[in-house]
Amino acid sequence: MLDFLWLIPLLPLASAALLMVTAGSLPRPLIAACGAGSVGLAALCVLLTGLSWAHDPVPRQMELWTWMQVGTLRPTIGFYLDGLTLVMMSVITGVGFLIHLYSTEFMEEDESLSRYFAYMNLFVAAMLILVMADNLLFLYLGWEGVGLCSYLLVGFWYRDPVNGAAARKAFVVTRIGDTAMALGLLLLFTELGTLDIQQLAELAQGKWQPGDTTIVLATALLLGGAVGKSAQLPLHTWLPDAMAGPTPVSALIHAATMVTAGVYLIARNHELFLLAPPTLLAVAVLGLLTLLLAAFTALNQHDIKRILAYSTISQIGYMFLGLGVGAWSAGIFHLVTHAFFKALLFLAAGAVIHCLHHEHNIFRMGGLRTRLPVAFWSFLIGSAALAALPFTSGFYSKDQILLAAYQWPQIGPWLWAGGLLGALLTAIYSFRLVFIVFFGEAQTEPDRQPGWRMALPLSILCVASIVGGWISLPLAEALPATQSGHPAAAVEWISIAIPVIGVSLAYLIFLGRQLDLSALVNSGLGQRLHQFWYSGWRMDALYNWLWVRPYQFTARLLKDEPVDLAYNGVVHTSVALHHLLSNLQTGRMRWYASTMVGGLIVLLAVLARAG
């Protein structure tokens, strides 16, 4: 099966091509079958690959094909297969397939079904290329590919200009990170002369001491790319807006896979990052800040998908924290469990939205526990995992990260404390969501129940969200081990207790009403704080004020100003030359003959220099 590795990205790619070419002329069931089936087949291939890899778990590099060979330049296309790749591939195709299956029902009535599946399949193919690539250039191709698909899918319902604006925002903001990443690639290439990931690691270790400026700069630039793609501070603002796309898209792209690409990038290049301790510190601190900031924001939202979006930002913050403190496997572990329970949450939210006439506001829901039981149980399990309640998958992964943070020298305990605060907030906001949406009085009646194609993926993901914490990922070879050592039992117990406390608090505040915070909320400070957090710490306004306005101002200033003059000059010169030359094309043969004679005279004169 390992020889057929190329089949895995090719399947969804071929399906995307087919759907694009036929442009909706296929019968709708066939479109759905093609869209979901190709990803399902790919998932099957990944499974087979995993099985045959288990026999012989050696990392291997497979050169598929040399793109071209011009002189000494020889860009190749190849895959690298190790435990990390396998884990990522499983998540992408496995969760991806479930979401595709779910989509066949969710998008059933959409007129652009073919376009939807074409984009989704293209996304899966690009994401697979991203994680399978053996060199950073090829990885970058996948990286840009998923960005493009994200853009297309956020703006999927393009008739509403708001969606278009959201898509553009997502594209532009992540581009900032991508540009940094491209610069990082160029820097690495000029320094080391290759972009092959394994060679890079080797060469870098030979060339630099830990903390050398160049490698710190290069990894910082890569981090820029990761921060943009994974919606971390300060480039996180696009993700909440990206919820404008269809909900399965949010589940697949903006929760389970694409947004974790930054985590993958850092883990994949961990040898480089290990040479740059300052960058690693930045990763950890950025992760912590992001997770806190997003958690506070999530506490104050009332759009169901925005709450989940901020929780995603926050959870990726945990992954960054894990990577930053050297808990590589824990970071990836959290990536996997997060993919399960966040996909579950989004899909359950999608089911709610789907059955409730596209209602997004949680305060207009309520009492859905009995009316939408499938969604309720899914949401409950997903929230439990998100809040890291004991024995759920989220608990294990988050616990590992927090323990590793605690053991990190110097500021470790501070990072740990921050993470705990985040965990408390996570528990509160996730169960706030559960209590408000599913308990209390009904506000809106659902007009339908999810069918099996929605229920089945939800059930599978429910199971995965619980048992996902018990599996052991084959990461030992691929990533360096976390420093072991057992912290005090108290630390463990605190980690367990915090989520429980959070859930209890949420119960007291939002359901039992024993804890009345209305006085606090309605006070002047409370109002202002609420507004502040509701707007996501006013980041959008800040950026608007800091970047967009000055940019627009400069643009207006330069609209007909010197810089343009140069460009216009080029244009005018070209046009003038065009007219001049064009006037010479008189259509008269005598004139043509004369120009040829003139040309011959000039040519002879040039040659005569040697004569």
Binding site: Q69, M589, M596, V606, L607
Partner: protein
């Protein structure tokens, strides 16, 4: 003439025999379908005959022709291009009355000329190949029964091309007078033996006149004036043949002449070519800038592309290791021929029911994307390839060319190439943009009535352009082995 020579010349024999059979068929009974079938079959057989011929290569057959991989490969490329032209012409001629059987005979003879050019190692073969190619083309350009434009184009081409041939011949006569040989390899021997030292200026002038004559066929500035007029006046499939096969064949002949007769050692000749190259790139692209006739745009763009190709000659001359430059030239010719054929095929196909005029105005293409998406896709890929956008054959060709230029440190030429490409993108994208707009003008509204052959050719061309852009290595590797 032994058997091996016959085997080596098999492609030529097939084409010649095919022409004879076709002539007999026309004289016995005029029937367009048969003529078409014989032509396509002959051209495909001619391309396939490369295989047996390769078994005896390399083989010098009389001083005139050499059967080697280079000639065979490009010979079969020209045969296939001729077949593509024939298929497109069949569709194009359907709405045009008259006796069209000779059209295919002339096309066959013209292709034969191109193949001979690819084999030529002697002045006589060069002259005959060139003239066979051109004489058949004069009649093909003027073929349509109605309208005055084809006639005007044919006369312009005939007269100026004749003058160019005379110039070329005079140049060769001077070289012959100085060196006493007409065979390329022999010329190289004489030059290295020092016979040239007695009259270097004479040889250089001869070379310059030869290059001027060939430069006309390649439509290199300042010998380019005829190009847009002739392309505009000629039937679209013939314009494609003229721009693709004729130029490609002449370029291969030039490449052979340069490689084998030792003219690379004259640095002033290389300086002259550099000048022509830069002029072609800039003038060609500038002339295309605001042009509204698509055929003329493509004509100007072909001038610019030949300017790019000349970089190969300079690079091969300057660089101590000419291999890379020659490979780049070979690849570029393949990419250019395919792309050019694709672009003109579109014009031929949308004009298939247009009666007397052709749909060659930019405004005629408005809305093509919505009316005939397949053809629009063909044209889009072709234009992107001409513009050198990645994942198309044109990109790889240009990339190859740039690395050859970098290798030989030809910064001036590369600067011209970059400027030219930048201008080029503007007008190529303008055409694509026009195809996506909703046109108000009367527009080729016909769909779905293309012949099966034309459809096949459209798909094949799209595939070839993309394949060469995405998987260029097989062809590169092949060219590396044969050049």
């Amino acid at each position: 003439m032994n058997l091996a020579a016959m085997q080596g010349l098999l492609p030529l024999l097939v084409l010649g025999l095919g022409a004879a059979v076709l002539m007999l068929q026309i004289s016995i009974r005029r029937q367009l379908g048969w003529s078409y079938a014989i032509t396509v079959a002959t051209l495909l057989l001619g391309a396939a005959a490369m295989e047996p011929a390769m078994q005896v290569a390399p083989l010098q057959v009389t001083p005139l022709l050499r059967v080697d991989n280079l000639g065979l490969f490009f010979g079969s490329l020209f045969c296939l291009s001729g077949a593509v032209t024939a298929v497109i012409s069949r569709d194009y001629l359907r709405s045009r009355e008259g006796e069209n059987e000779e059209y295919f005979l002339l096309l066959l003879l013209s292709t034969l000329g191109a193949v001979i050019l690819a084999y030529s190692t002697h002045v006589a073969a060069l002259l005959l190949g060139l003239e066979l190619l051109s004489v058949a083309l004069y009649a093909l350009i003027a073929y349509p029964e109605r309208g005055t434009l084809p006639l005007e184009a044919a006369i312009k081409y005939l007269v100026l091309s004749g003058a160019a041939s005379a110039t070329l011949l005079f140049g060769f006569a001077l070289i012959y007078a100085a060196l006493g040989s007409l065979e390329y390899a022999e010329i190289a021997v004489q030059i290295s033996a020092g016979r040239a030292a007695t009259s270097p200026a004479l040889i250089l002038m001869g070379a310059a006149m030869v290059f001027a004559g060939l430069g006309f066929k390649l439509s290199v500035v300042p010998f380019h004036m005829w190009t847009p007029d002739v392309y505009e006046g000629a039937p679209a499939p013939i314009s494609g043949f003229l721009a693709g096969v004729s130029k490609g064949a002449v370029f291969i002949a030039v490449l052979r002449w340069f490689l084998e007769s030792g003219f690379f050692q004259y640095s002033s000749l290389l300086a002259g070519i550099t000048l022509l190259s830069i002029a072609s790139i800039l003038v060609g692209n500038l002339l295309a800038l605001l042009q509204t006739n698509v055929k003329r745009i493509l004509a100007y763009s072909s001038i610019a592309h030949l300017g790019y190709l000349l970089i190969v000659l300079v690079a091969a001359g300057v660089s101590p290791e000419p291999g890379l430059a020659v490979e780049a030239g070979g690849y570029y010719v393949v990419a250019y021929v395919i792309t050019t054929l694709a672009a003109f095929s579109l014009l031929g196909l949308i004009s298939r029911q247009s009666g007397d005029r052709e749909y060659d105005q930019l405004s005629d293409l408005a809305g093509l994307f919505w009316k005939q998406p397949g053809l629009a896709a063909l044209f889009t890929v072709a234009l992107l390839s001409l513009a050198g956008i990645p994942l198309t054959a044109g990109f790889i060709g240009k990339f190859y060319l740039i690395s050859a230029g970098v290798d030989a440190a030809l910064w001036g030429l590369l600067a011209a190439l970059v400027i030219g490409s930048a201008i080029g993108i503007f007008y190529y994208l303008r055409i694509i943009y026009t195809m996506t707009t909703v046109g108000e003008q009367a527009n080729p509204g016909t769909t779905a009535d293309m012949l099966v052959g034309s459809r096949l050719v459209v798909y094949l061309l799209i595939f070839a352009m993309l394949y060469l852009g995405i998987v260029p290595e097989p062809l590169m590797g092949y060219l590396r082995t044969i050049l």
